[in-house]
């Protein structure tokens, strides 16, 4: 059993729980590869967050008197969101398609082309 790491004097109505061991899962034969992929995904989310913020800024900068509060409160139009999501999907495709590569040739592998 484990207990929440949250430290507070307020009532939480939380109880002990049985922690998952998913952190130990190896799906790629080597935990370093698994960890690198997780970091890569996290990096992608950070990059996208920055890009999305920039889009908000760019939209706001078209107006006068930009403030941080304005940035936080900005709600994109449906058209803007659709356009952003297209860009997001392009970003995902470019960044993660290489992960689906079916590489199976070791360094020592001979050429597989006839015209080697």
């Amino acid at each position: 059993m484990a207990t929440s790491t949250l430290k507070t004097d307020r009532p939480t109505y939380a109880s002990d729980f049985i922690p998952s061991d998913v952190e130990r899962a190896v799906f790629l034969g080597n935990p370093v590869l698994d960890n690198m992929m997780t970091s890569l995904i996290a990096l992608g989310a950070e990059v996208w967050s920055n890009r999305r913020r920039m889009k908000v800024l760019e939209a706001l900068l078209a107006d006068k008197g930009v403030t941080n509060e304005m940035i936080e409160q900005y709600m994109p139009t449906a058209e803007q969101e659709a356009e952003w999501q297209k860009d997001r999907d392009r970003f995902i495709d470019l960044t993660y398609s290489p992960l689906l590569r079916e590489g199976d040739l070791p360094v020592s592998a001979a050429f597989t082309r006839d015209n080697k």
């Binding site: 059993m1 484990a2 207990t3 929440s4 790491t5 949250l6 507070t8 307020r10 009532p11 939480t12 109505y13 939380a14 109880s15 002990d16 729980f17 049985i18 922690p19 998952s20 998913v22 899962a25 190896v26 799906f27 790629l28 034969g29 698994d34 992929m37 997780t38 995904i41 996290a42 992608g44 989310a45 950070e46 996208w48 967050s49 999305r52 913020r53 908000v56 940035i71 936080e72 409160q73 900005y74 709600m75 994109p76 139009t77 449906a78 803007q80 969101e81 659709a82 999501q85 997001r88 999907d89 995902i92 495709d93 993660y96 398609s97 992960l99 689906l100 079916e102 590489g103 199976d104």
Partner: protein, 398 residues
């Protein structure tokens, strides 16, 4: 960090900028708007009935991981399955018949299959972690918000801090940190995290509202009381109260933080559903009390013996002629379906690495048979629900 001035400064007025930030899908019924209340924490306002995530960067992080989940499912599953099938055939195994112990040594550590699985699992872990981190870092503000609504109407909240929490409920289901019971913000984390699961199609509770609209009623048409078992953050309970505004609707869940969040959200929505921290197998309600008892994806999260007990409890609290409509993966068209090797492998990964601890247990139960055994009149192919063209429907005999 958020400060109280920032948090309380913005209100639902920002919600008037409803412009589909989350790409919500249309739904037949008009969703309830959010109502700001004294102590409400909505630093970035609302998008219709969804409080926007409190920081732009957190919202964008969620947006990215939601997009990644959609993309990996669309682009990754097919090549992953093709690779799986090819590997089995190369090993002389039948992709329709192979068993898990034969499958593992052939596909384990395959780079493509492993990559697609990693995209899903890591994306999910990162989303949970980001949400938990935000709510923990601003715990005082969000705990104060819940305290401000615990005793506020229109609906009631009944917490039971002395409740004996059964061990079977304490796993980190869906690898959610702390699970349903172990984190003060289990409701917050679950609500926003499962928006990622629903692939951006449930920001306005569209799925729950659709299920509520499909909910069957007793033959005599009388609906005075409804029970939603295992209600989590109360999305179905709220939608049922909207469809049946004159009925007394109760959502129950083992997770105190879950029903607290469910209640707070209903206060925010102005919806008078009631919530109680209670077990589905021991609801604490009187005999013959409800006209409708339902649940949504509850049964695959409990052991087989508990599923049977829950069916018995549903029968006990229903009045004669009342209907039981338990919605889950296999209470509809999926029940008893023969599974090929890919489905078996996917089921294993979901069980083992998505912490669906009790799913195989659930599949072992003769669900409809037990409904008959306890005295329900059973319609195996009842009305549609969720992803299924039909769902089992039980009626308590008069």
């Amino acid at each position: 960090m958020l400060d109280r001035r920032t948090l309380f400064g913005a209100t639902a007025a920002v919600g008037s900028f409803v412009a589909g930030l989350f790409g919500s899908k249309s739904s037949s019924a008009k969703p309830a708007p959010m109502h700001a209340f004294d102590g409400d924490v909505e630093p970035r306002g609302t998008n219709q009935r969804l409080e926007r995530l409190p920081k732009l960067d957190l919202e964008s992080y969620d947006d990215m991981l939601t997009g990644l989940r959609i993309w990996s499912g669309r682009e990754g599953n097919r090549p992953s399955m093709a690779r799986f099938t090819r590997l089995l055939e190369d090993a002389g195994l039948d992709p329709n018949e192979a068993e898990l112990e034969e499958i593992f040594p052939v596909v384990e550590n395959d780079p493509l299959i492993g990559t697609v699985a990693r995209l899903r699992t890591s994306g999910q872990q990162l989303m949970w972690t980001a949400l938990q981190k935000h709510f923990h870092e601003n715990a005082d503000v969000y705990l104060a918000e819940m305290e401000a609504t615990d005793s506020r109407g229109p609906g009631k909240l009944e917490l039971n801090p002395d409740m004996n929490i059964p061990e079977y409920t304490t796993y980190e289901i869906h690898i959610q940190p702390g699970g349903y019971v172990g984190d003060a913000f289990a409701g917050h984390i679950y609500h926003y995290g499962t928006n990622n699961f629903y692939r951006a199609e449930n920001y306005q509770d569209e799925i729950h509202r659709n299920m509520a609209s499909q909910m069957p009623v007793p033959k005599d048409g009388k609906v005075l009381r409804i029970l939603d078992m295992g209600c989590s953050v109360g999305q179905l309970s709220a939608a049922l109260k909207e469809r049946f505004p004159d009925a007394e609707v109760w959502g129950i869940d083992v997770g105190g933080p879950m029903v607290r969040y469910a209640h707070m959200r209903c206060v925010d929505l102005g919806i008078g559903a009631n919530f109680r921290q209670a077990l589905a197998e021991d609801t604490g309600f009187p005999d013959d009390h409800f006209d409708i008892v339902t649940s949504y994806i509850l049964h695959h999260e409990v052991p087989a013996d508990k599923t049977r007990e829950i069916i018995e409890e549903a029968h006990r609290v229903l009045r004669p002629g009342g209907v039981y409509f338990p919605i889950d993966f296999e209470t509809g068209a999926g029940r008893g379906r023969r599974r090929n090797a890919w489905a078996k492998f996917g089921g294993w990964r979901d069980h083992r690495w998505n912490e669906e601890v009790w799913r195989p247990d659930y599949s072992s139960v003769d669900f409809n048979g037990h409904m008959r055994k306890v005295g329900f009149e059973v319609e195996d192919q009842g009305p549609p629900a969720w992803r299924s063209p039909y769902n089992v429907l039980g009626t308590k005999k008069a």
